[in-house]
């Protein structure tokens, strides 16, 4: 049935190791999930809608970005385009991890890559440097983060819908603070500074001159162009 070395026992221990390895990332995601749910509820999403979005999309960065842009009637094109843009990095992550999934059946690749996120990708890459990556290990990490994210964001939506006016508790600014924190975590010096400054200036100008939601595309385009133009061959990457 299974290739040798992949008995049910080893699959179970591989899955357990996956859960243990991803646990710190899952714990760190608890307050982030609660915050996402509360902010989404403050923008008018029902608890069911928050649960559905977290379950189906399962991409924290994209979900935070589009919730900030969430106003009724929905600008569906902008929301979906922003989601795609933020998630483009998955293509690079998947391409780098794909050659290490030799032990996966096709359906196992399609299923476990549903939960390809920054954390599972990083741990999958690390695992592959030491031993073959198994679907049990990778899938258990993904399932752990997925259950955690859906649960925490749903609880956050339930709690947030009780809090009332988000502005009075500064919840509208929580996005700004959160994104500043995430960008700080992604910071790599000059190669981040150029796109960040270009995106901030172009985004603010476009917001003033053209209006929302065009500032997202304008700022993103300026940042990406800035990074490409500012790239120098001596950059240690």
């Amino acid at each position: 049935m299974r290739p040798s070395g992949m008995s049910a026992g080893t699959s179970r221990s591989e899955a357990l190791e996956g859960v243990v390895d991803i646990a710190p990332a899952a714990i760190a995601a608890v307050p982030i999930g609660l915050l996402f749910g509360a902010l989404a509820a403050s923008k008018g999403l029902s608890i069911a809608e928050v649960a559905l979005m977290s379950a189906l999309v399962c991409a924290g960065g994209a979900q935070f970005a589009i919730i900030e842009l969430w106003t009724y009637p929905l600008a569906i094109g902008t929301l979906v385009a922003s989601t795609a843009l933020i998630n483009l990095r998955h293509i690079l992550m998947g391409a780098s991890l794909a050659p290490k999934t030799g032990a996966f059946r096709p359906w196992q690749r399609l299923l476990t890559f549903y939960a390809l996120v920054d954390e599972t990708w990083a741990f999958g890459e690390r695992r592959a440097t030491a031993r073959p990556l198994t679907p049990a290990y990778f899938g258990a990490m993904g399932a752990t983060l997925w259950i955690n994210w859906v649960t925490c964001s749903t609880l956050g939506a339930a709690a947030g819908s009780l809090l009332g006016d988000p502005r009075s508790i500064g919840a509208d600014f929580a996005f700004t603070a959160l994104f500043i924190g995430i960008v700080a975590a992604l910071w790599r010096g000059r190669s981040t500074a150029v796109p960040v400054i270009a995106a901030a200036v172009a985004g603010a100008l476009c917001y003033r001159l053209v209006g929302s939601p065009w500032h997202v595309m304008a700022g993103a385009a300026a940042g990406i162009a800035g990074a490409a133009l500012a790239w120098r061959p001596d950059e240690a990457r």
Partner: protein, 101 residues
């Protein structure tokens, strides 16, 4: 437990494009070779998009938001994520309370 139709359409479309980004890397595999300049541009996408989303709050909403952003940036250089959010939210609430209007 209400799910509004445009919201459902948006969520499903978001899910489809997200899943597409996750599995298209599998199809590309080793064949995807980006030059270093293109790689730098792709690496810049997440911070560029995140900053573009908050650009109005950073620079074009009011002096309170811009001041709170500056304090939050300072906090982000030394605090973990949740601490940064706490400092940012506390600062804006304080500024709006002290100087209303």
């Amino acid at each position: 437990m209400i799910v509004d139709l445009p919201t459902l359409v948006t969520i499903v479309a978001m899910a489809v494009v997200t899943y597409a980004t996750r599995i298209s890397g599998l199809a590309l595999g080793d064949r995807l070779k980006l030059g270093p300049r293109a790689k730098a541009a792709v690496d810049a996408i997440p911070p560029a998009v995140l900053v573009a989303v908050i650009a109005p709050s950073l620079l074009a909403t009011g002096w309170r938001e811009t001041s709170a952003s500056a304090i939050t940036i300072a906090a982000a250089t030394r605090l973990p994520l949740i601490g940064t959010v706490a400092v940012g939210v506390a600062t804006i609430v304080l500024l709006r309370h002290v100087v209303p209007g």
